[in-house]
């Protein structure tokens, strides 16, 4: 009897054990991991591995052929002390970002205000204004842009025909105007922040405006006292987003000017590309990429640290 009981308890134990194993296998977490495994593996192989190897390469001299040669911090030292072209590209990038981000956001906000109202025609309009963002990043638009602003381009002809200019002038080949043409192209693509602004505007309770109207506030006052404060989280979101994409701008400058004339439009990533893929200094290019990450992270961190001062979240 006693023996039997003990046997059954062993069996019972065994059963418990296997069921706990089974439970562990069929545990929700495990299933979850299995389902995300394809992404995780892809992420490790295609993102983490290249990321780490580029970190390693940033300490080497590597032409893409043969073996990377370890040179310590030389690439980083070269960037800041030995390469005036790098410093110039940093300056150009900062000018680009600090002009284009505010202008693009202002434009996006103005257009979003106009399109806030619903209606079928407005929706069609909205789509039209979003179009430049869909096609604007493409190579084709950059090529057209180059033709428009070129020495023999439409803008030239137009300005001469209305008497604003006397001689043909290459906007994209002159250092005073080259960056401007690229900034204008970037501002023109205000579609995606505009959409986010529209969503944000629609979120602001009408009751606030109604109360303000009753109190006799005019449109301007309503904008500054209601719309702007309620919109600050959205502005913050757009600001961070645009800032990051501004530092990574590449296509337009690469296609339209290749960084010229005399490096006047040598945006950071264009220079990085030139060093990595036309002169094949992969190590130096990698080092630049890592410095870019640090710069963008610092700016983003600064923005985050200021948000308590000006960003208003409704629940506070």
């Amino acid at each position: 009897m006693r023996y039997k009981r003990s046997e059954s308890s062993v069996l019972k134990n065994k059963k418990q054990c296997s069921s706990s194993l089974r439970r562990r296998i069929y545990n929700e977490n495990i299933v979850g991991y299995v389902f995300i495994a394809p992404f995780i593996i892809g992420f490790l192989v295609f993102t983490v591995y290249p990321l780490l190897s580029s970190l390693y390469l940033s300490f080497t001299k590597f032409s893409g052929l043969g073996t990377p040669e370890w040179i310590g911090l030389l690439n980083y030292k070269r960037m800041f002390f030995l390469d005036p072209r790098y410093i110039k590209s940093l300056k150009v990038t900062f000018v680009y970002v600090f002009i284009y981000v505010p202008l693009r956001l202002t434009f996006a906000l103005i257009v979003a205000m106009l399109f806030k109202a619903g209606g079928r025609i407005i929706a069609a309009y909205r789509t039209m204004f979003y179009l430049p963002s869909v096609i604007g990043g493409s190579v084709a638009v950059a090529v057209v842009w180059r033709q428009l602003w070129g020495y023999d381009g439409v803008i030239n002809r137009f300005l001469i025909s209305i008497g604003l200019m006397e001689e043909q002038f290459s906007f994209i080949g002159s250092k005073e105007t080259a960056l401007m043409t690229i900034i204008i192209l970037a501002i023109w693509q205000f579609g995606s922040p505009m959409l986010v602004f529209i969503a944000g505007l629609k979120d602001i309770p009408m009751s606030l405006y109604e109360a303000a109207t009753v109190d006799g506030a005019n449109g301007w006052k309503k904008f500054w006292k209601i719309t702007m404060p309620c919109l600050t989280p959205i502005i913050f979101f757009n600001l961070v987003n645009q800032l990051i994409s501004g530092f990574m701008a590449f296509t337009q400058a690469f296609i339209i000017t290749r960084g010229g004339p005399n490096d006047a439009t040598m945006l950071y990533v264009v220079y990085l590309y030139e060093k990595s893929f036309t002169t094949f200094q992969m190590g130096y290019g990698s080092a630049m990429a890592w410095v870019l990450i640090v710069i963008v992270s610092i700016l983003t961190a600064i923005l985050f640290s200021t948000q308590n001062k000006w960003v208003y979240y409704g629940n506070e």
Partner: protein
């Protein structure tokens, strides 16, 4: 709300920054010893070669025209030698070297590579391409119809690492109709820079009649050539000829020569003899086919490669006359450049068949009739004559062949393949020119900046 926004921002940042990381492959391997392998496999070419099947891969860069011509030539080869199959791969120039670097990292280079003067030293130093001299000695590669000067450009460190596919030389393109209208005779090949200036000024005097803005479009390559010429005329080379990463001149001498050149360029641009740098840049980005000479806005275009003449002629719808580049004296600084090479990769399983293909590519008249001299004037005398006789009278092809033929005997010696830093140095000296012409910097100061940066580039390219 706050948390959600932070999360989205972080995700966006991480994802977007990931795109910045250059994903250079860090595969490391030691290329196998090339010399030991080839000497063992070299056999003699007995006329009916290769009973065993061999599958070769071949890669080149170029335009659609080149792809079509090359494919047709490969078909001719495969019909004649059914045991050798050639699988073609091709891309544009920009993507080509990235692709090749990735292939070399995985030891998967195609058997036959089209190669360029710019990178051939690097590939030789990394033992990625093999020495073809053993195949020349055993007769697999037949160079008996090709003068040594035409293929010697493929020798790097005493190894023949590529067979030249065609000869090119820089040219000055002249719009003959416009010269006639202005009553100016077409200059001789022996013209000097003083004569060039005089002709430009004469053209500019009739600017409005001719409808031109500048006398000479002057491509970006013009300054490259002038830089080389300026040193050649003083008996020096621009780069050190011992293959090291350095200039072929000391700083003081170089300063004098370059400052002189910068002043001359500035004067030419100010007098409208040549187009402003902005217009040249634009032309460089847009491609020569949309240049000012094609639109009839200049009468001269300096320093187009002879193999570009056809594209420009087609775009303009009229033939241009080709003459040599002007130099200080009547002695020509002009040189014949190998347009590109065919090389055999060190990981090829069939190096002998690959070498044989290259030999046929060079000597086979039927193949070259398909290739149509698109890669430059063929190096084999026999092929060149056969092609020349097949061209129509007054065609640009014939004019190009004649021009290269005219230059070959008077041409100066070509320098050895450029150092690794060459690409970066070209950018630097074009920036130097812009600082002087557009920003009003003194030539001396611009030179100092250029020199300091060039030294860093050499150091980093070692």
């Amino acid at each position: 709300m706050k948390k959600w926004i932070s999360l989205v921002i972080v995700a966006v940042m991480v994802l977007s920054l990931a795109a910045c990381g250059t994903s250079g492959s860090s595969n490391q391997q030691t290329p196998k010893d090339v010399d030991g392998e080839t000497s063992a496999t070299v056999g003699s070419n007995d006329g009916a070669p290769y009973d065993t099947k061999a599958e070769l891969r071949m890669i080149w860069w170029g335009s659609q025209t080149r792809h079509d011509y090359t494919q047709a030539a490969i078909n001719v080869f495969q019909d004649a030698y059914p045991n050798i199959t050639i699988t073609p791969e091709f891309t544009a120039w920009d993507a080509y070297w990235e692709k090749l670097a990735a292939m070399s990292a995985s030891k998967n280079l195609p058997d036959i590579l089209q190669h360029d003067y710019k990178y051939i030293t690097q590939y030789t130093n990394n033992n990625l391409i093999i020495d073809l001299f053993p195949y020349v000695e055993s007769g697999v590669i037949d160079l008996s119809d090709c003068p040594e000067s035409t293929w010697a450009g493929g020798i790097v460190k005493d190894k023949l690492v590529g067979i030249n596919l065609g000869m090119n030389t820089a040219s000055v393109m002249i719009d003959a109709e416009m010269f006639e209208k202005a009553g100016i005779p077409i200059p001789e090949d022996t013209w000097t820079i003083a004569e060039y200036n005089e002709i430009c000024d004469k053209l500019l005097a009739k600017k409005d009649e001719l409808g031109i803005d500048f006398a000479d479009q002057s491509g970006k390559n013009a300054f490259n050539e002038q830089m080389q010429f300026a040193f050649r005329e003083k008996g020096m080379w621009f780069y050190n000829q011992d293959g090291s990463e350095s200039f072929g001149w000391d700083k003081e001498t170089g300063k004098q020569i370059i400052v002189e050149l910068l002043k001359r360029e500035k004067e030419n641009i100010e007098k409208k003899r040549t187009a402003p740098l902005a217009v040249r840049d634009e032309n460089d980005v847009n491609g020569p086919e949309s240049g000012l000479i094609v639109k009839g806005k200049t009468a001269i275009n300096t320093a187009n490669w002879s193999n570009q003449a056809k594209a420009l002629t087609n775009a303009a719808g009229k033939n241009f006359v080709l003459v040599a580049l002007p130099s200080e004296t009547t002695t020509k600084m002009q040189y014949i450049k190998p347009s590109q090479f065919l090389s055999v990769s060190s990981n090829s399983q069939y190096p002998e068949q690959a070498a044989f293909f290259i030999s046929e590519f060079t000597n086979n008249i039927d193949m070259n009739k398909e290739l149509k001299g698109e890669r430059g004037v063929p190096i084999s005398d026999v092929v060149r004559e056969a092609l020349a006789s097949s061209f129509e009278e007054d065609s640009i092809d014939k004019a190009v062949f004649e021009f290269v033929g005219r230059m070959a005997p008077i041409a100066n010696q070509i320098w050895r393949p450029e150092p690794n830093a060459n690409g970066a140095i070209i950018v630097l000296y074009h920036n130097m020119l812009k600082s002087v012409v557009d920003d009003g910097m003194s030539p001396e100061e611009a030179f100092e900046n250029f020199y300091a940066q060039a030294m860093v580039e050499f150091e980093m390219a070692k």
